[in-house]
């Protein structure tokens, strides 16, 4: 059965303290892995798509990486405005439309 597991469930950092969020997945064949940011009371905001092991994408203080079993979202020198829930989702190669979400990591950055 396809699964997506994110860790930790919650992470509190001091402003400027870099860290990483983990997304481990089990699918029979990966079409793509997606990272989203979700602020309270809002819809998820698309951040990155990763397609193959070794691929990396960057956006401001965020960098996403992918291996055959997991993805990391590295956050460098975070600011309070980076506080949000970060969702990981995967799409199996045999599925043209459906994606499977992890339960997210709630990130809180203290000033």
């Amino acid at each position: 059965e396809d699964q997506v597991t994110q860790s930790p469930e919650a992470l509190r950092l001091q402003e400027g303290e870099s860290s990483s969020l983990n997304c481990s997945y089990t699918v029979s064949g990966l079409r793509g892995l997606f990272w989203y940011r979700q602020d309270p009371g809002k819809g998820p905001e698309f951040l990155f798509t990763l397609y193959s092991a070794g691929e990396e994408k960057e956006k401001e203080r965020l960098k996403a990486t992918l291996t055959k079993k997991e993805s990391f979202l590295h956050i460098t020198a975070p600011k309070p405005e980076d506080s949000a829930t970060y969702l990981c989702a995967v799409q199996e190669r045999s599925s043209a439309s459906k994606i499977i979400f992890g339960s997210g990591t709630r990130l809180s950055i203290r000033p």
Binding site: Y36, F46, S97, K98, G104
Partner: protein
């Protein structure tokens, strides 16, 4: 800007009183999705339309129905809302057959059942 729009943003309905949530998109995407999201949980897929083809998830209650009258619009009908249906309802779209398959979400409709 191309976007996914949901109306209303907040909806209050009474127990058992039918309610309809709407979603429109200007992205010209061929797939539209409805998700239910409860507090601190991942979005749960209810169903999706791939063009005109309706795809229902096995565990979506019969109480939930959907319509897609054209490419741009999709509706979620809850025939007899129960207290357990109070949640955020998210609409999303994607373009299947293009170079990437990510989904783009609307702002959500927060449903309260009294």
């Amino acid at each position: 800007d191309a976007m996914v729009i949901q109306n209303p943003r907040y909806q209050v309905t009474q127990f058992g009183k039918p309610v309809t949530l709407s979603c429109s998109q200007t992205l010209n995407h061929n797939v539209m999705y409805w998700y239910q999201q409860k507090s601190s949980q991942a979005p749960k897929l209810l169903f999706h339309y791939y063009d005109k083809d309706f795809n229902n998830e096995a565990d979506t209650p019969d109480n939930f129905q959907s319509r897609r009258p054209n490419t741009s619009f999709c509706f979620l009908d809850i025939r007899s809302p129960g207290l357990g249906d109070a949640a955020m309802y998210l609409c999303a779209t994607s373009r299947v057959g293009g170079s990437s398959y990510e989904q783009y979400f609307g702002p959500g409709t927060r449903l309260t059942v009294t």
